[in-house]
């Protein structure tokens, strides 16, 4: 280990630079005045630092509305997906019923289905049902695309929890629901948070459905809204504003990860049974 110290560090730095350079570039862009980005001889750091881009972007009504849409749609999709996935995964992990394998296979098949191929049918379907350009119109597909992964993740977690936990709770006087809520769910918390984060990321970052199934800012989310930042003419895109919007939309994700990271504690079940 000691011998490889230098090699390790070179490797770390290379990977960090590779991963973080684009982010640093976006950050630096977001602090440049528009004139600087169009001057033709760009430099890495801004010559004059400005917060004007942030003021402009945040003052943009359409962007504000898109942020609200993104947050609302992603949050609702996450909550619903996690609730359904928890119940479904519990049933799959704990109950013996006919067609269990079938349910799991179908879930996997849905996860493998290319999203793009569903855009057309969904577009027609949603227009017929009046779901086009509405929140539910995005929440429903987001939920169905993230459910399989959430179910698989959670059922793996539930399977890890010893049966006896639940039986002990029942002997202690708990109903099945109480045993589930007070013992099983807290123990599966790392799994629940993992599933929640994955779902939230998907809904927050999704572009294809967001651009195809919306037509106004009524339901358009940030990734889709970003494509409408065209500036005064199409040959001079407002790079700095785009970068600023990207930063603004990334911050919640970073905060979320930092927040949940503390919750995702591995080995929570250790000590439940013999050591």
């Amino acid at each position: 280990m000691k011998q490889n110290g230098l090699g390790h560090w070179i490797g770390f730095v290379a990977i960090l630079v590779w991963c973080l350079l684009p982010i640093a570039w976006i950050l630096s862009l977001s602090f440049k005045p528009v004139a600087e980005t169009t001057s033709g001889s760009p430099q890495f750091l801004p010559r004059t630092w400005t917060l004007q881009n942030y003021k402009d972007v945040l003052a943009n009504d359409d962007f504000q509305r898109a942020l609200l849409n993104s947050a609302g749609i992603a949050a609702i999709a996450t909550v619903l997906a996690v609730i359904f996935a928890t119940l479904a995964a519990y049933a799959i992990a704990r109950l013996e019923f006919r067609g269990k394998r079938f349910v799991l296979s179908i879930a996997l098949a849905i996860a493998m289905f290319p999203v793009v191929s569903l855009v057309g049918p969904l577009f027609d379907l949603w227009r017929t049902f009046g779901l086009f350009n509405t929140w539910p119109g995005l929440i429903i597909p987001y939920m169905s695309f993230t459910l399989p992964l959430a179910i698989w993740t959670l059922s793996a977690f539930f399977r890890e929890i010893p049966w006896e936990m639940e039986q002990a709770a029942q002997v202690d006087g708990a109903t099945s629901w109480q045993a589930f809520r007070k013992v099983i769910v807290p123990l599966a918390a790392p799994g629940v948070f993992t599933a929640a984060i994955l779902t939230f990321f998907f809904a927050w970052n999704e572009f294809v459905l967001a651009i195809s199934l919306t037509s106004t800012t009524d339901a358009r989310t940030v990734p889709a809204q970003l494509s409408f930042f065209v500036g005064s003419d199409q040959f001079n895109p407002p790079y700095s504003q785009l970068a600023t919007a990207s930063v603004v939309v990334t911050v919640p994700i970073v905060v979320l990860v930092l927040l949940f990271q503390r919750k995702i504690v591995a080995g929570l079940t250790s000590g439940a049974v013999k050591g």
Partner: protein, 389 residues
């Protein structure tokens, strides 16, 4: 404390494939009694316990707790408390909350919960660990928390499912005494499942020996040891186990692979007209003949045999004497040893000798046999033909 008797009447448990895991078992556990269910793995003892507590459906028969039929009640409505083999502590709760869990579910006021938890923790000497999480406790401490959770509420009975099998030998001995003391102090009806015959003998007021889902014998530890009803019970109870030898009886003499011995008249009378038998003699009923009064140690009570291994344990010593057994008996004995989860590679006689004995390894020795302590079993049915004689 609420207390209750447990009556099991013709309990049957059949699984999907029709195999009866528990077959027509009837056991009455008296109020305050310490009952042991013992047997090798797969004998149905744990299944029976789980049927008492309600974690396993009862195929047929009646389970009566405190005079009330509980067959169709959910576990939470039976008011029994159970200690699981793996303890099943809630890892996300502190020791305090683990013990308080059943009280919280019963929606007791906080002050009452606190009083009861403190009382239980004092009883089990867990006071200094109340705010810790189970993951940070030792095996013995976890075991005590599991017991705390069981005694904290006024359950009608305690059920233990092999509670000591995950502890090391030394701790197991301590906890065994602890459980015994606790049960005597609380005086609460207890059903305790174990595969360990030492636990069965030391803890139980009465012991139910099970084999392949069938109750073999239900008796006090002493009676099980002295008067086993069949070959299985005889082989299961006692360590080292009872020696089994092919035997034929004519008149008041029995012929064993080591010679011809005189047996008490009562036993001889009982065994007239029998063919090949299996004789059972416990290791402590064999002794170095030189330590026996010469008037007792005659030609008809002693034999010379080759001791190939001797084990000296300080308080006793074991001598091992291999022998060739009759094919029929050997087959029966091998089947028995397989059922008892032991791998007996050869037929051998084990003698537990007095530590004063000077018998050496790899030498011939003269041994004395207490023929009045000998049991005789039917090789076909395994039945003890000389119970009470």
């Amino acid at each position: 404390m609420a207390m209750a008797s447990i009556e099991m009447k013709n309990i049957v448990k059949k699984y999907g494939d029709g195999f009866p895991a528990v077959n027509d078992v009837s056991i009455d556990v008296a109020d305050g009694e310490f009952m042991i269910l013992v047997g090798p793995s797969g004998c149905g003892k744990s299944t029976l316990l789980r049927m008492i507590v309600g974690l396993e459906d009862i195929t047929s028969g009646d389970m009566i707790v405190g005079g009330k039929r509980v067959n169709d009640l959910a576990p939470r409505d039976r008011n029994l408390s159970m200690v699981f083999q793996n303890y099943a502590l809630y890892p996300h709760l502190t020791v305090y909350e683990n013990i308080a869990f059943p009280l919280r579910l019963a929606k007791l006021p906080d002050s009452e919960v606190d009083a009861k938890v403190r009382q239980a923790s004092a009883t089990l000497e867990l006071d200094e660990h109340l705010q810790r999480k189970p993951a940070n406790l030792s095996g013995g401490q976890r075991q005590r928390v599991a017991m705390g959770r069981a005694i904290v509420r006024d359950a009608e009975a305690f059920l233990f499912d092999e509670p000591l099998s995950n502890l090391d030998a030394k701790l197991r001995g301590q906890m065994r005494t602890e459980i015994s003391r606790l049960q005597k102090r609380l005086g609460i009806t207890t059903v305790y499942v174990t595969h360990d015959q030492t636990e069965a003998m030391t803890l139980g007021d009465r012991v139910a020996v099970m084999r392949r889902g069938v109750l073999q014998q239900l008796a006090s530890p002493r009676e099980l040891y002295d008067q086993p009803c069949n070959l299985f019970v005889a082989g299961f109870i006692g360590s080292p186990p009872m020696n089994f030898l092919p035997a034929t009886v004519d008149g008041d003499h029995v012929t064993l692979p080591f010679g011809r011995f005189k047996i008490p008249q009562a036993k001889a009378d009982q065994l007239q007209g029998t063919d090949l038998l299996i004789a059972g003699i416990r290791p402590e009923h064999l002794e170095d003949a030189s330590l026996i009064d010469p008037s007792e140690a005659t030609e008809e009570t002693t034999f010379v045999a080759h001791v190939d291994v001797r084990e000296w344990l300080g308080d006793s010593q074991y001598a091992y004497i291999p022998y060739e057994a009759d094919a029929v008996v050997e087959k029966q004995l091998q089947e028995l040893s397989r059922e008892l989860d032991s791998d007996q590679l050869r037929t051998q006689l084990v003698a537990s000798l007095d530590t004063a004995s000077q018998i050496q390894e790899d030498q011939d020795a003269r041994l004395f046999i207490f023929t009045e302590k000998m049991h005789f079993f039917d090789p076909a049915t395994g039945e003890n033909l000389t119970v009470g004689l």
